[in-house]
């Protein structure tokens, strides 16, 4: 048993997939030239008022359902007051003491769960970039609809934190709540970690880590911080309560600000937004309409498609990949072969091209058609690989690709027999070797046949015909 115990709690901000901001009706999509996607409401101009986006509320409640939390019947919004240039109103509209969802949990993938404290809705702030010439503020994302998922401090290894985030992302993607793309800032994570001597009742001093831009970074930063705190405590030192900034390049974190006094945000209910009562019947309606979540889909892949666990887990990591696979498997009627292609070639091609599956050049039905050609023997496995490479570069159907590449397999027994007879006639030495008992000579003859047909001869048939012709007296 280790001398120290680690306690981790995660706070995850997720931008909801809605086409307008949380409190304004104007259209919104993430990205864009700075300060082009912001209306008078999010600019906090004098006189503007917030109005709750019902679609955002619905997505938030769906997130609460998907994460098995309790949806509260009466909710309201609070103002969190602080000054910062990227916060146009001087307060953020958030939820303080009546979040829309209490509790909930995220599976860790091995039967264990990370428990949630709460989930609340809030608006995003803008983005400040500090340059040598001054600070730049982009308000495009100001007012965007976020949920903050607050995990309980009940994770005990950085690997569990990684698993928590992976599973959380999967669930939110599956439930259609968010793309969860960390690079686009659609999912942001802050991690709290403390270390105490094993057996001590009270948690150690909490340190918050920010600037975590990928799940792997979260894990690495937590590993670093666990080592740092353990070493400090082991040497008789004390941990300061602080916020640290992770530096991925250096592989270490540094103090951003110490939290000697707690911030006072002067929370109070936003008088511009009357409390909302959530009807239980509506929640049940949303629950009934919930799309299939990863756990259920996993069961289905294992049983209906008889896929191995390994395949299932790889395919399920990204909902869109799983969708792609499923379309392909249904179309070609060979789930395992479809899985092999998707897990290996498709994912490799995506990685090489730095693409998402939704941007992938080969539609799932086209891949299925190609796999079908492989199954019915029109092309060989090797030829299929060539077809796949061609389809990656060209928007062409499978049949014409096979034709253009001249990859159609020769499977006509009469034609093949004619070719094989020609090879036998032209190569008396290997024939004699084979008849003298050298099995290897058969491979040589087979190779010559394949060469003569530019690889288009059906290999099992060639072997069968060779044996028949050579064995016959």
């Amino acid at each position: 048993m280790s001398e120290f115990e680690i306690t981790i709690g995660l706070e995850v901000h997720v931008q909801l997939e809605v086409r307008s901001k949380l409190f304004a009706p104007s259209p919104y999509a993430s990205g864009g030239e700075p300060n082009t996607r912001v209306s008078v409401v999010e600019l906090g101009l004098p006189g503007v008022l917030p109005v709750v986006n019902e679609r955002a509320l619905e997505l938030a409640v769906r997130a609460g359902i998907a994460l098995e939390g309790q949806i509260n019947q009466r909710i309201h919004f609070d103002r969190k007051n602080y000054f910062y240039p990227d916060l146009p109103k001087g307060y953020q509209i958030s939820q303080y003491d009546e979040p829309f969802c209490t509790g909930g949990r995220v599976p860790l993938g091995d039967g264990r769960y990370g428990q949630l404290e709460r989930i609340h809705l809030e608006e995003d702030a803008g983005k400040t970039t500090h340059t040598s010439g001054g600070s730049l503020v982009d308000l495009n994302r100001a007012g965007a609809a976020l949920i903050e998922i607050v995990g309980q401090p009940d994770l005990h290894t950085p690997a569990d934190a990684y698993a928590f985030l992976t599973q959380l992302k999967q669930i939110l993607q599956y439930a259609g709540i968010s793309e969860c793309d960390m690079e686009k800032g659609l999912l942001r994570c802050d991690a709290n970690i403390s270390v105490q001597r094993t057996g001590e009742a009270e948690l150690g001093t909490k340190v918050e880590i920010k600037n975590l831009n990928s799940f792997k970074m979260v894990q690495r930063a937590l590993e670093y911080e666990a080592r740092r705190q353990t070493a400090t405590l082991a040497n008789g030192g004390a941990i300061q309560q602080e916020t640290r900034l992770w530096n991925e390049e250096k592989g270490e974190s540094a103090t951003m600000r110490s939290k000697e006094s707690a911030d006072d945000y002067r929370y109070f209910p936003d008088p511009d937004l009357p409390p909302i009562s959530i009807q239980p019947a509506w929640v049940e309606e949303l629950r009934a309409a919930m799309p299939e979540l990863p756990a259920a889909r996993r069961e289905r892949f294992l049983h209906d498609y008889s896929l191995p666990e390994y395949d299932t887990d790889v395919l399920l990591q990204d909902r869109n990949v799983a969708d792609y696979f499923e379309t392909c498997a249904e179309a070609c009627q060979d789930p395992k072969l479809a899985s092999n292609w998707v897990m290996t070639e498709v994912l490799r091609a995506l990685k090489e091209r730095d693409q998402e599956i939704t941007q992938f050049q080969i539609p799932a039905t086209r891949l299925a058609e190609m796999i079908g050609a492989q199954i019915n023997g029109r092309i060989s496995r090797n030829a299929a690989k060539q077809v796949f490479e061609h389809l990656l570069e060209h928007d062409q159907d499978v049949t014409s690709t096979i034709e253009v590449l001249g990859l159609a397999q020769i499977s006509d027994p009469v034609e093949l027999e004619r070719i094989v007879q020609g090879i036998i006639d032209a190569n008396p030495q290997p024939v004699a070797d084979f008849q003298a008992g050298k099995q290897k000579a058969l491979h040589a003859l087979q190779g010559l046949t394949m060469k003569a047909t530019k690889g288009q001869a059906n290999p099992p048939m060639v072997q069968e015909i060779l044996r028949r012709l050579l064995d016959s007296p």
Partner: protein, 491 residues
């Protein structure tokens, strides 16, 4: 070109009828208004800015539309003044504050949009206490407004500019905002009629927020008929204001409405307590007697939590204001103070210190204090509980009576500068008006006589939520029986 009559109509109702019927031109009505402003406003200082060109352009466009056969709205050609805390596209809004220096709005307030759609001609923006914080219109970066009945006195506030503009007959209608009495009190002190409707009856979108749970868009006019006309245009739900009420908008002075025979009017003891000027009390009692003669029954009432209204109001309003005014930080618009380039906090501090006047700073500090961790339960949250008790006083009262009556202001207009150094004395001006804001119920003030010094006194009537019709009907009956509302200041 239609034939021009000898005399132009005076009231909003008459102007709209005449302009719609082609008996008067909006352009002529406007010119009379502009001439009056030009002649008198050098002394009254009701206006911060007059939109000469834009108003003339609008009036001409309206006349052209009429000539082209277009049907005009219920406020056709009526010149209207707007308190300087409503935003209007491509116009400045200052809220009487230096901190909004140079700010031009890219959008128009819902209330102003509704007026314009109804054919009103917006003639300019009027002076006010900075961010509507005050009861005298002395706390303005543009200097004070003067009471048309006595230029040495204050017009009341915070909507003093709008009240004075109507009192001086520069315009027949003006828009104000009432958070704790900011329309009713200046209406009383300037001898005009002012209506604070039910909270949420008129959209606040585009009204610069002071205290969001109390702010109410409120019109001024010379009589109840014009108030009713204006309210009908302004009232209604707005998808841009989540606190606006979705309820039908009635014809507030329907011709077939009954009189006030049998109407029960509550007279709460607490509203006639110490501190009420004897002359004001006398005029109020006389007004009640007139209503009694018209058929109303007076009912003595107790509203025991009235004495907590001022502290409750000043805790809630300042708490909300401290947050609402956080956006004036010098970053995106308005004034930005000189500051060291690398110190953000210094910039905030200098900007807000220079940009806000002393009264606004006092209220931001008070409001921030009562929301602080460790104090919020004792101050802000307790004030919310007391607010509920005050609301219950009204519920209980309205189970017995149809209306509640009192004086609007404890005294008549005081002299300029008289209470500037005594914030608490200034706050006590709101003692009779803040309860209606805390309860969210409608209230109006109508002229009910004059003091020995010929200063106007106002009668306040408060009604049940969404029952502006009874208030306006009672006011109309009172004004049929009296002519206090017709008395014009000598300027």
């Amino acid at each position: 070109m239609s034939q021009r009559p000898q005399a132009l109509p005076e009231s909003a109702d008459e102007i709209a009828r005449a302009v719609s019927a082609g008996q008067a031109l909006a352009a002529d009505v406007l010119e009379r208004s502009l001439q009056r402003i030009a002649a008198l406003d050098g002394r009254v200082k009701a206006f911060v800015e007059v939109f000469h060109d834009a108003a003339r352009h609008s009036a001409q466009a309206l006349d052209a539309a009429r000539a082209g056969g277009a049907e005009l709205g219920p406020l056709a050609g009526v010149p209207v003044a707007i308190k300087d805390n409503f935003v209007m596209r491509d116009q400045r809004t200052s809220c009487g504050s230096a901190i909004l220096e140079g700010f031009v709005s890219p959008y128009t307030a819902s209330a102003v949009e509704r007026l314009v759609s109804a054919g009103a001609i917006i003639v300019g923006r009027t002076n006010m206490d900075e961010f509507a914080m005050g009861s005298s219109t002395e706390h303005s970066c543009h200097g004070p407004t003067h009471n048309p009945f006595d230029l040495q006195r204050i017009p009341g506030g915070s909507s003093g500019g709008s009240a004075a503009a109507v009192a001086a007959r520069m315009v027949p209608l003006a828009l104000g905002s009432d958070t704790g009495g900011s329309v009713r009190q200046p209406a009383a002190l300037c001898g005009v009629s002012g209506l604070k409707p039910t909270y949420g009856r008129i959209s606040r979108f585009g009204l610069v927020a002071f205290a969001s749970s109390l702010d109410t868009v409120s019109p001024f006019a010379c009589d109840a008929t014009d108030l009713a006309l204006c309210l009908r245009v302004l009232a209604g739900v707005d998808t841009r204001d989540a606190t606006s009420i979705n309820a039908p908008v009635p014809d507030y002075l329907a011709a077939d409405a009954p009189g006030i025979e049998g109407l029960r009017i509550g007279v709460p003891t607490e509203y006639f307590a110490d501190g009420l000027d004897p002359e004001v009390e006398a005029r109020t009692r006389e007004a009640l007697a007139i209503l009694e003669i018209q058929g109303a029954t007076l009912v003595e009432l107790a509203m025991p939590h009235t004495r907590f209204a001022i502290p409750t109001y000043y805790l809630i309003a300042t708490a909300e204001a401290s947050s609402n005014l956080a956006r004036y930080d010098g970053i995106r618009y308005g004034r930005r103070a000189e500051h060291p380039a690398d110190d953000l906090n210094e910039m905030y501090t200098a900007t807000r210190h220079e940009g806000f006047g002393a009264e606004v700073q006092r209220r931001i500090l008070l409001g921030s204090f009562c929301l602080r961790q460790g104090y919020v339960e004792e101050w802000y949250q307790k004030a919310q509980k007391v607010r509920t008790l005050i609301r219950r006083d009204f519920d209980a009262a309205f189970s017995q009576v149809d209306l509640i009556a009192s004086a609007t202001s404890p005294g008549a207009a005081f002299s300029l500068g008289e209470k500037l150094d005594d914030p608490l004395a200034m706050y006590m001006n709101d003692i009779l008006t803040t309860p209606a804001n805390l309860a969210g119920v409608p209230g109006l003030s109508i002229p009910c006589g004059f003091t020995d010094e010929d200063l106007p006194v106002g009668l306040q009537l408060m009604g049940q939520a969404l029952d502006e019709a009874t208030l306006l009907r009672t006011a109309a009956v009172f004004q049929e029986a009296t002519d206090y509302h017709r008395r014009e200041p000598v300027l």
